[in-house]
Amino acid sequence: MGSLRNVGVVGLFGYTILFFTFIYLPIVLIVAYSFNSDPINMMNWSGFTFDWYRQIFGLKNTVSENALYIESTEQLLNALRNSLTVAAFTTTIATVLGTATALGLYRFNFLGKKFYRVLLFAPMLMPDIVLGIALLIFFVGADVSLGLKTIIIGQCSFLISYVFIVVSARLAGMDRSLENASADLGADEWTTFRRIILPQAMPGVIGGALLAFIISMDDLVITYFISGVDTQTLPIFIFGMLRRGIKPEINAIATLMLLFSFAVASLGLYFRSRRG
């Protein structure tokens, strides 16, 4: 009996280790490889180096012509600038519209509200590739030239849903009697909205905004369809690099992006814990 339980415990422990290895090993390897000085075979550790980081920032060019992939740092920085521009616009637009929608649905009852809610969920469930093609056909049909503008509009069409859902979840957990208490103490509806509802929805708004930002920075499939030929975002740029083989610089870029996502997520958690 006891030994059987021991077997169970050991088995469970082993499973847990395997599980986390499965999830995190590739990420750990990428980070490790980004510091590996061997330019040809990443699996072969030949010493520690910052070269790949120096290289993506155009600071150093020590490696042989052969190993060098990044044609120009300028191109990389341009893609990064595009990504940040798109993310800034989409995050702002999606946060404002998604929050307003969530607040509207929370506050008012109207005919077809449930159906409307389903419509807001739909873009999240739709396959990216379908959404991408649909947007492309729409933009081409509407004769809009592809570029940053179409990426922004296209991304907003599903990011609004994400923000809406995060803010709605926050509002759903809110105590309705607080609104009664506020009215009871003499506040009209607008004041109650400003002083009670909005401050409490705020952690949800910030969380939704960070989520929208990360998804926007990260989106490849949909953006790929609607970016046009000369506009590259960071994911598209990296994808392009990959097609010509996995080069060490990619590990460095991936590690930096990881660090960045981690920072954004930490910021989100910090806000959540601070605002209760």
Partner: protein, 376 residues
């Protein structure tokens, strides 16, 4: 300007039920609340207590009838324009504001000048015994402290009337009793009317000047605690307030007294001084409170009831004897602790003879409550 701070005139409210149909939460209620009065609303769950409070505070729009506050018809005014404040059952403190801002909320809305505002917040917190806790957040307070913050927040704007919806139900027994006294003192100090909702009958009896017993959207009786207890107007009130022995039967005259003959062969004698008097042959219910029984010997004068003892409970102040008549009717009697020897011998016998004074028996029109209790 009348003497009443609140008047409800034929207040009626029905809610539509999701499964179809409606439920009438208020059934043409007339209610006058005096100035400086501590009025308690008592009734079983779902009887309409919260709805009645909400009709006064404005969260419920009446289907018919009027609400007057201090003489003004406020039936069509939204909650934020009624001179009434509420202590909510779950406190409803604003979680993102500290205690000072919670308490000062009404003054901030009204645009009270900063210095006066701070001074009044301090005074209100002092009044409820929380001086200096301005900077705490609600979640950093105990249940009892949150309760006090809710109280301070509700009285700071000096409302004409304070509504309290089961404000003590979440507190443990000791704290609840302490708060009962404090609330009563506070009400006297502030000199405003309190309408206090509870479904705890003991709480209702201790606290109120007057007591309104509600059932199914109708006020069954409204009077001083003493009168409601001693002279309930119907069997529902009698059974809801305090423990009671109810004997439903048919009335018959016997000398100056009335005899109630029950179906299981008991004859309860009532002197009927004042109160309702049934005619000969009318259906009536006799009420005998447990403490009106006494232990008597076999040769006792006056009416008695014989019971088989099931259990004797010593409460510290007295003995509660639980038993039943030969026909199975349950009886509760309360005997003073000084009669310990008699109680002990009765307990040893397993039988007791309970005497009562016909003058202490109260007669009620039979509304079926007693029969329903028997069946349960």
């Amino acid at each position: 300007m009348g003497t009443h701070i609140v008047q409800l005139e034929r207040a009626t409210k029905a809610f539509a039920l999701p499964e179809g149909g409606t439920i009438t939460a208020l059934h043409g209620i007339d209610l006058d609340v005096e100035r400086n009065e501590f009025l308690t609303l008592l009734g079983p769950s779902g009887c309409g207590k919260t709805t009645l409070l909400h009709a006064i505070s404005g969260f419920v729009q009446l289907d018919a009838g009027k609400v007057r506050i201090d003489g003004d018809d406020v039936s069509d005014r939204p909650p934020h324009r009624r001179p009434v404040n509420t202590v909510f059952q779950n406190y409803a403190l604003f979680p993102h504001m500290n205690v000072g801002n919670n308490v000062g909320y009404a003054l901030d809305i009204a645009g009270t000048e900063r210095k006066e505002r701070n001074q009044r917040v301090g005074a209100a917190l002092e009044l409820v015994g929380l001086a200096g806790l301005e900077n705490r957040l609600p979640r950093q307070l105990s249940g009892g402290q949150q309760q006090r913050v809710a109280l301070a927040r509700a009285i700071i704007a000096r409302p004409k009337l304070l509504l309290l919806d089961e404000p003590l139900s979440a507190l443990d027994r000791n704290l609840r009793q302490a708060m009962q006294i404090e609330l009563k003192t506070l009400q006297a100090e502030l000199g405003i009317s309190f309408i206090f909702v509870t479904h705890d009958q003991e709480e209702a009896l201790t606290m109120s000047d007057r007591l309104a017993v509600l059932n199914k959207g109708v006020i069954q009786q409204i009077d001083t605690s003493r009168t409601v207890y001693d002279r309930p107007t119907n069997a529902f009130v009698a059974s809801f307030i305090g423990a009671s022995n109810l004997f439903e039967g048919t009335a018959a005259r016997s000398g100056g007294n009335t005899l109630i003959a029950t179906a299981d062969g008991l004859r309860i004698e009532a002197a009927c001084s004042g109160g309702w008097k049934p005619g000969d042959g009318a259906a009536a219910t006799a009420l005998i409170r447990p403490e009106q029984f006494s232990l008597v010997g076999p040769g006792a004068k006056g009416p008695t009831i014989g019971i088989d003892i099931e259990q004797v409970v010593f409460t510290g102040l007295n003995f509660q004897i639980h038993g039943h008549t030969p026909s199975g009717r349950r009886i509760v009697a309360i005997i003073a602790a000084v009669r310990q020897a008699d109680v002990a011998s009765a307990e040893a016998d397993g039988k007791a003879r309970l005497g009562y004074d016909p003058a202490a028996v109260h007669l009620l029109p039979d509304d079926g409550t007693a029969a329903a209790e028997m069946a349960a």
